[in-house]
């Protein structure tokens, strides 16, 4: 079981164990009762109205509190809600029915905040349009403060943001807050990448604006490297920023801009390496920046490539676990050079090839 210590033979069981045994007994009693009534509703779904009594609903809620993963019990609730809402016309009462479901979900999430079924039930209830979306955002703020990496919570937040129609320029502010709280929040960096793409792909977004945004992002993400250069989160984001920067090549004025950005970033990585000479991520990023630089600036191609090669070679011993990956980068580098050499060879020998064909 995830994260639970192993019980050794002869070791006294933990106090939790006794409580769990009691829960097991309760579950074993509740489950067959529930399955029986569920099947009855299933079979008589058409035509015969199921009772979905208050007692049955409470029993079901208790079942889900004991085991939030019991998906058939969530299905039962959905059938019940559909049936009850079908005959309830008073708006306040309808809202109350939806709220009761949200409460059941909260109790389930307290037991297991990674339960797919509970999160989906919440989405489904919100889809009924009877609940406040702002209240959901407040709840999510609390939840993501307790566990900033809960991807269910993030997914659900994106759903609420979309339902509410929050523009990406506003939605991105939440990721800024989460990253400022803890730059190691990869979930926030991920969401930021998606929102930034959305903003830059918006119709009418000028290229200058995209460039300025990317430059701001470089500065923002670099802050994290000075705190902990070993943390992966920001580096993956940085790698993506570089890709976005290269993607602008070909648009008016971008070639000069690219060289400016690359020079600045190469300089920043070198500075960081002076402070942290064994930082694997800095070395790897620097090597990539240099190779990008090399492919757009012929005059420094050889020195850039040579320096990148040295960094990859050092990475092999600095991070032996990923040695094969760095070796692959080195072999890619060599084959690129080989192709370049071959194309120059072909140009020189074009005449002789023609001769051979004629003879």
């Amino acid at each position: 079981m995830h994260g639970r210590p192993r019980q050794r033979p002869g070791q006294a069981p933990s106090p939790l164990h006794h409580q769990e045994q009691a829960y097991a007994v309760e579950l074993q009693k509740l489950m067959p009762q529930f399955l029986q009534s569920n099947r009855t509703c299933w079979v008589f779904d058409v035509g015969v109205v199921c009772s979905y009594s208050a007692e049955a609903m409470n029993q079901n809620a208790r079942l889900l509190e004991l085991n939030p993963e019991f998906y058939t019990a969530w299905n039962y609730r959905k059938r019940a809600v559909e049936e009850i809402l079908g005959r309830e016309t008073d708006e306040e009462a309808r809202k109350g029915i939806a709220q009761r479901e949200l409460d059941v979900v909260v109790r389930a999430l307290r037991v297991n905040h990674k339960c797919y079924g509970a999160w989906y039930h919440r989405k489904w209830v919100i889809g009924l349009g009877l609940s406040s979306l702002d209240a959901e955002l407040v709840l999510l703020k609390k939840l993501l403060r307790l566990d900033g990496r809960n991807f269910h919570g993030w997914d659900y937040r994106r759903f609420i943001v979309k339902t509410k129609g929050v523009p990406p320029e506003e939605a991105i502010l939440f990721t800024t807050d989460k990253i400022n709280e803890n730059f190691s929040n990869y979930s926030a960096w991920h969401n930021r990448s998606a929102l930034l793409s959305e903003i830059s792909k918006k119709e009418g977004t000028e290229i200058n604006r995209v460039q300025a945004m990317l430059e701001d992002e470089y500065d923002f993400v670099k802050n994290s490297f000075y705190t902990d250069p070993d943390d992966q989160s920001g580096w993956f984001y940085y790698c993506w920023l570089l890709e976005q920067t290269i993607a602008l090549v070909g648009t008016p004025g971008s070639d000069v801009w690219l060289m400016k950005v690359l020079d600045k970033e190469i300089e920043a990585c070198r500075e960081l390496l002076e402070l942290e000479s064994n930082s694997k991520w800095t070395k790897l990023t620097l090597a990539r920046l240099l190779l990008t630089h090399a492919s757009y600036n012929t005059s420094s191609r050889k020195s850039d490539t040579d320096e990148a090669r040295t960094h990859f070679e050092e990475l092999c011993s600095l991070d032996p676990t990923h040695r094969e990956y760095y070796q692959y980068q080195l072999s890619m580098l060599s084959s690129k050079e080989l192709i370049k050499d071959r194309s120059s060879l072909t140009t020189q020998h074009e005449g002789s090839e023609e001769l051979q064909l004629k003879s």
Binding site: P5, A24, Y71, Y116, K123, W124, F151, N191
Partner: protein, 322 residues
């Protein structure tokens, strides 16, 4: 951990066989996914060459009892049908070479009915969408040789829409990359013949970076390692031909360190409580790593290679590996 250097195969076999008789909280709380539990346990037994110890007829009869009139299977008898358990049921029937016991068209009709206009799949009639279900649909229909029943191109395009900035995949478009989800998406694309959607160098690197100092793999950056990722990450890397980018020896040692040498079974991390889920993923991971004495497992179908070969080419079972 000197005594953890070898695979305690007999202990694991005994542990898996004992699971059916347990009635503690963990066992009761897993009742709803007994079908998947059975798939994990039985596949692990098959990889260890001990599937023959099980009573096939009894298990097949129980699987059939779990099928709903709509064609889908529930996680247990009387539980609602769901695509997750439909795949598990079909996988178990493949293990036993008993696909003839079910009506393939009926199962295919259930799965086909769950495909949405955008190519995605719902898990059941309630409409939850997730790329896990895309994998279940594609894998299951492929095993039933009925992939032509769905719009496969749209199905793969939807998976591709879930690709992220790091080359990984999420549950739905915009969802964060997660190694478990990546397995589902890469597996679905591999079976669907659409691996061109995968950026192998970028994703391969991201997955290789899941290996932490202990040798174990985590599922997302800055998370703890867990034996289950020995399957999710490793299988994806094998499919993408990038498995040499991690230190396989260190990973095998991490899995072996997570064994319970006394009671059998494998846990998420050393000295945690074991369960059938991690026992399967540990054994399956070791199989992908070529651990001696284990049958080879197919990284996309998550079934022994000889089982997959039998399904598609009608080949006889290979003799057990010595």
């Amino acid at each position: 951990m000197a005594d953890s250097e070898e695979l305690h195969l007999e202990k694991h076999v005994d542990y898996i066989k004992s699971l059916d008789k347990k009635s503690d909280f963990d066992a009761v709380a897993m009742e709803h996914l007994r079908m998947s539990g059975a798939y994990w346990g039985l596949t692990a037994l098959d990889i260890m060459g001990r599937l023959g110890d099980m009573n096939v007829d009894e298990i097949v009869a129980w699987i059939l009892k779990c099928q709903d009139e709509c064609g889908g299977f529930g996680g247990n008898y009387q539980h609602d049908p769901h695509i997750l358990y439909t795949l598990s049921a079909v996988q178990i029937l493949c293990l036993f070479d008993r696909l003839d016991a079910v009506d393939g068209d009926k199962i295919a009709a259930y799965i086909t009915g769950l495909q949405n206009e955008d190519g995605s799949f719902a898990g059941d009639e309630w409409g939850e969408v997730d790329t896990r279900f895309s994998y279940c649909a594609i894998c299951c229909l492929s095993l039933l040789k009925r992939l032509d029943k769905i719009d496969l191109e749209k199905a793969c395009d939807f998976v591709a829409r879930c690709k992220n900035f790091d080359g990984g995949f999420g549950c739905i478009p915009g969802g964060e990359s997660h190694a478990g989800q990546i397995f589902c998406c890469v597996g679905a694309l591999a079976i669907g013949g659409a691996l061109h959607h995968v950026d192998k160098d970028l994703l391969g690197w991201w997955l290789a970076e899941r290996q932490v100092k202990s040798g174990g793999l985590n599922g997302r950056p800055e998370k703890l390692p867990d034996v289950c990722y020995s399957w999710w990450v490793l299988a994806s890397l094998v499919i993408m031909d990038r498995v040499h980018w991690i230190d396989k020896k260190k990973l095998a040692q991490f899995i072996l360190d997570c064994q319970d040498p006394e009671g059998g079974g494998i846990s998420d991390r050393p000295d945690d409580a074991v369960d059938v889920f991690h026992t399967y993923f540990g054994v399956a991971g070791l199989s992908l790593l070529g651990y001696p004495g284990l049958k080879a497992i197919d990284p996309a179908y998550a079934l022994p290679v000889d089982v997959v070969d039998r399904v598609f080419y009608g080949q006889k079972k290979q003799p057990p590996v010595s």
